[in-house]
């Protein structure tokens, strides 16, 4: 490295630190850059941790700067290394690993840590947090929270602010019961007034099913080894086995303070983002205190980063809206807008919660029963505060008016509602390029336009590339309008949104119509005629659809199948497969058991296991052995590998059980006999249980049948007890087993024809609505019942046991091993 270059050291490799470096590089700032971060990763989008916890975003999707980025910009990154001291005179930083690093310019971006109030039992002396107690700040926090929650049942989240609410929602994705305990009198009291807070609480309780305790001061975490509950000041005890503390944050200022910088609540900075009285030390992000303000949101740090970068590299670049004279940019503070990232629960708040002066105007609308509360507060004709709960429709417009101090419509109601006609949205064409559109991820209109000009013409694509709209999501409508504007009309529909498979630009209904119209019976012909490019990730979904539509006439191209369907077994982590023979209704015979035992013994099957689906799994079978094993078993496939009809679990029912009021076993066997192997958009798992004690778990199946007194049967649909737990909705009650069999076929066929690819019934039924499904399937409101039955009968007739396909491989090397490597064919190497 040429020593002529100035050495820039950054402490803290989080959102502010990395963003600032990006801004410096954008200004061609010429430094030897070294970054220290005590997290073991590159820079990731912390705000997305809520989405990761909620399971709507994948970990890999949240990285903003992966390690290659640092390399490409030859930045020396020390991950997992904590800086402990700064020597301002010798201009060195000293790290926990003993190293000393010299700097000419220093940037402190140490962010904040979770604040843990003094609660008895939160910590175990010497061993950090009590196991079962978590905070929610880093990727590691999130990972360990998920890992632990999965194995437990009841969680309490302490803190009813933004973070606490998002944590509570996310945890529901991993365990059954979540309670939110908030010390103040109403939720999000930092942002919302009491009416808004109460409205939000009702929605959280009724819509999400999270219990909320307000005015609850947690005094103790109970349980010696494992957490058993928490105790409140009023003596109340709430049972739980997981505790998440989201009670606020504290800026990480210790290092700065010990090194002699001016620290109050945060590290004090001037308008140039320099530490007070320091010429060469800058501070940015949540650890900075500017004009008495310490921020806890990302939006301010985008502005701070621009100002800092301009000053440290002495160059402004066009379109960075940093004001300032003599080349020095100044930061004047940010106006905060808060949004809640909880799907289905809209909350946006900015500025004042309630009027403060006598002459402040308040326009307020409340409809508690539908969970809506809105207000705006106006001072001297300018918007100084707004709250939206339950309806974010006007968020974008209000944020603009608030941040820019725009003049407001004479009819104030227009601020809260779209009163007919096109809402008075100013055209995106007039927006300045550097105007920030996505505050969560700091994306400007210019960046969106550049992305579109770069050839990306779908809203989804632009969102993926720029990350705009991927935080709280409220800017999506605006992003959409900008993309449409930038693409000058030629904007393409957003694939991910509505397409049945990504590779063919049509929703399922259209796709099916087109397939029929053109008589497309093979996957390759669908691509050729409708899709253009062949797409690996779309093949499986299309194969399933075509098979459903054409039955016997379907032209089966094996490459369209996922490996499981090519070899009729489920691939496992080491490339071997599992073999699950059919065992209708979970009923078997000594003879069958013997045969399974002998086969397992003869082939030294690594594991024989009873499955959760009431049958037997032979695990760890090499691909090339599958046909032989099937032959020796000589039993039909149990389809434990396909997106298809799987099992019908049953209980012993009236034949044996004291309580049985219906022959659940016989009905279960009959159902599996008839619908075995039928493929669909997702797995179809059924159960029949002999009485409401529900020993066969029928309430939580895609379709579950429950015998009730008087020879009647209840049919439940859309239940699940897998990644999602949902009690099925009662479709109807019938008098005979035959009716159950018919309605089952009709329901499954309706699902097969209308469910999206990989959309299980637990998602499909609520989406379409049980009333509509009942109308179609039970009351034949649309007059299609007969057709559904007929098409299902065809599918049933077309059933062939795939395990019969074994004498001759269907394709060359169908069962040839791909790994692990007992290899054929061996190809000699000639040097």
């Amino acid at each position: 490295m040429p020593s002529s270059r100035q050495r820039l050291v950054v402490i803290g490799n989080g959102m502010a630190g990395a963003r600032t470096v990006e801004e410096i590089l954008a200004r061609g700032g010429d430094f030897d850059i070294t970054m220290f971060g005590d997290e073991p990763y590159g820079n990731y989008n912390r705000i997305m941790l809520s989405n990761v916890l909620a399971g709507v975003e994948d970990e890999s999707g949240i990285f903003l700067n992966d390690l290659s980025w640092y390399a490409e910009n030859d930045i020396t990154l020390h991950t997992g290394v904590r800086i402990e001291r700064i020597d301002r005179y010798a201009r060195h930083v000293y790290a926990a690993d003993g190293s000393a690093t010299p700097y000419d310019k220093l940037i402190i971006a140490t962010g904040s840590s979770a604040f843990v109030p003094p609660i008895k039992g939160a910590h175990v002396p010497g061993r950090g947090y009590h196991q079962g107690v978590f905070v929610f700040r880093t990727l590691d926090d999130t990972r360990s929270m998920i890992r632990y929650a999965r194995e437990h049942q009841r969680a309490v989240v302490i803190g009813g602010g933004l973070l606490g609410l998002e944590a509570a929602r996310g945890l529901q994705n991993h365990l059954g019961h979540v309670t939110l305990v908030h010390a103040a009198g109403h939720l999000m009291n930092a942002q919302l007034n009491e009416r808004a807070g109460r409205t939000l609480q009702a929605t959280i309780e009724q819509k999400l099913g999270i219990d909320v305790v307000v005015g609850g001061m947690t005094t103790e975490i109970l349980g010696k080894h494992a957490v058993t509950g928490i105790k409140l000041a009023d003596g109340r005890v709430l049972d739980c086995d997981v505790v998440v503390i989201a009670a606020g944050i504290r800026p990480n200022t210790a290092v700065a303070a010990e090194s002699g910088l001016v620290v109050e609540r945060g590290i004090v900075v001037d308008d140039y983002m320099r530490a007070q009285d320091e010429a060469d030390i800058y501070v940015v992000g949540e650890c900075a205190q500017h004009r008495g303000q310490v921020y806890g949101l990302v939006a301010p740090l985008w502005d701070q980063a621009r100002v800092l970068a301009t000053n440290v590299s002495g160059t402004n670049v066009s379109g960075t809206n940093v004001s300032g004279t003599n080349g020095w940019a100044t930061y004047v503070g940010s106006r905060l807008v808060t949004k809640l990232k909880v799907a289905g629960v809209d909350v946006a708040s900015m500025g004042l919660q309630s009027p403060e002066r006598d002459d402040d105007e308040l326009v307020e609308f409340a409809e508690p029963r539908s969970g809506v509360y809105k207000n705006v507060i106006i001072r001297d004709g300018r918007l100084v505060g707004a709250t939206l709960v339950g309806d974010n429709g006007k968020a974008t417009a209000l944020v603009k008016a608030f941040e820019k101090g725009l003049p407001l419509p004479a009819n104030r109601a227009e601020l809260l509602f779209d009163l007919g006609g096109p809402a008075a949205e100013e055209s995106v064409a007039d927006m300045p390029d550097d105007e920030q559109v996505c505050n969560c991820n700091g994306v400007s209109k210019g960046a969106l336009k550049a992305c579109v000009d770069g050839g990306c013409k779908t809203v989804g694509g632009v969102m993926d590339k720029t990350r705009a709209g991927k935080g709280c999501g409220t800017c999506k409508p605006l992003v959409q309008r900008i993309v449409e504007w930038a693409a000058g009309g030629e904007v393409e529909e957003d694939p991910a949104a509505s397409y049945y498979v990504p590779g063919v630009p049509m929703p399922k209904s259209e796709l099916m119509a087109a397939i029929r119209q053109h008589g497309l019976t093979s996957v390759s012909s669908v691509f050729a005629t409708l899709g253009g490019e062949e797409d690996a990730k779309s093949k499986m979904g299309l194969a399933s659809l075509l098979k459903m539509m054409w039955g016997a006439d379907y032209v089966d191209e094996r490459d369209a199948r996922f490996i499981n369907d090519r070899v009729h077994a489920n691939i496992q982590k080491d490339g071997t497969f599992s073999v699950v023979p059919q065992m209708k209704g979970g009923v078997t015979t000594p003879a069958d058991l013997k045969r399974i035992a002998e086969v397992a013994e003869r082939h030294g099957v690594p594991m024989v296991k009873l499955t959760g689906g009431q049958r037997i799994d032979l695990l760890g079978i090499p691909k090339e052995k599958l046909p032989q094993i099937w032959a020796e078993l000589d039993m039909p496939s149990g389809y434990a590998y396909g997106k298809s009809f799987r099992t019908v679990k049953t209980c012993v029912g009236s034949d044996f059980c004291r309580f049985g009021v219906g022959d659940s076993t016989a009905l279960g066997i009959a159902l599996e006999e008839r619908y075995q192997g039928i493929e669909g958009p997702g797995k179809m798992k059924l159960a029949v249980t002999g009485c409401p004690r529900n020993c066969a778990e029928a309430y939580v199946k895609d379709l579950g049948v429950v015998a009730i007194d008087g020879g009647k049967w209840e049919i439940y649909v859309g239940g699940a007890a897998g990644a999602h737990v949902r009690k099925g909705d009662l479709l109807t009650t019938v008098d005979s087993a035959d009716e159950v069999i018919t309605l089952t076929g009709r329901f499954l066929q309706y699902y097969r024809e209308n469910g999206n690819w990989l959309e299980r019934t637990y998602a499909w039924v609520p989406r379409v609505g049980i009333d509509h499904i009942r109308a179609v399937v039970v009351d034949d409101a649309e007059g299609i019942a007969a057709d559904l039955d007929a098409r299902m009968s065809e599918a049933v007739a077309a059933y062939r046991d795939p395990w019969k396909e074994r004498a001759e491989p269907a394709t060359p090397g169908q069962f040839r091993t791909s790994l692990p490597l007992i290899v054929l064919p061996q190809v000699p190497v000639r040097a």
Partner: protein, 97 residues
């Protein structure tokens, strides 16, 4: 060296060959061309030859990460796989190594 007949690989699928100590997955694209990659998925050792392909990518069957069949670069943030020059010479598969 000669890996045998192109017809040993069904159209649109892949098969694994052991070339000395190397494991090579050879794919037969639907446009008739062929590609060869090291057979073991860098993510967690999945069998790439069991993956689904199109003209551009192969998708590993275990965790659905994807790799560009021509460059070997990952399309989902994984480390790259080795690509081997391979061609069809009247019906036989010729791999250069």
């Amino acid at each position: 060296m000669n890996l045998g007949s192109i017809n040993d690989i069904p159209l649109g699928e892949g098969r694994t060959f052991a070339v000395g100590s190397e494991m090579v997955a050879v794919f037969r694209l639907r446009d008739g061309s062929v590609r060869a990659l090291s057979a073991v998925c860098p993510h967690k050792g999945g069998p790439l030859a069991d993956g689904q392909i199109d003209l551009k990518q192969v998708v590993c069957p275990l965790h659905l990460n994807a790799w560009d069949l021509t460059t070997g670069c990952s399309l989902s943030g994984q480390s790259p796989v080795t690509v081997y020059p391979v061609r069809v010479d009247n019906d036989s598969l010729i791999l250069e190594m």
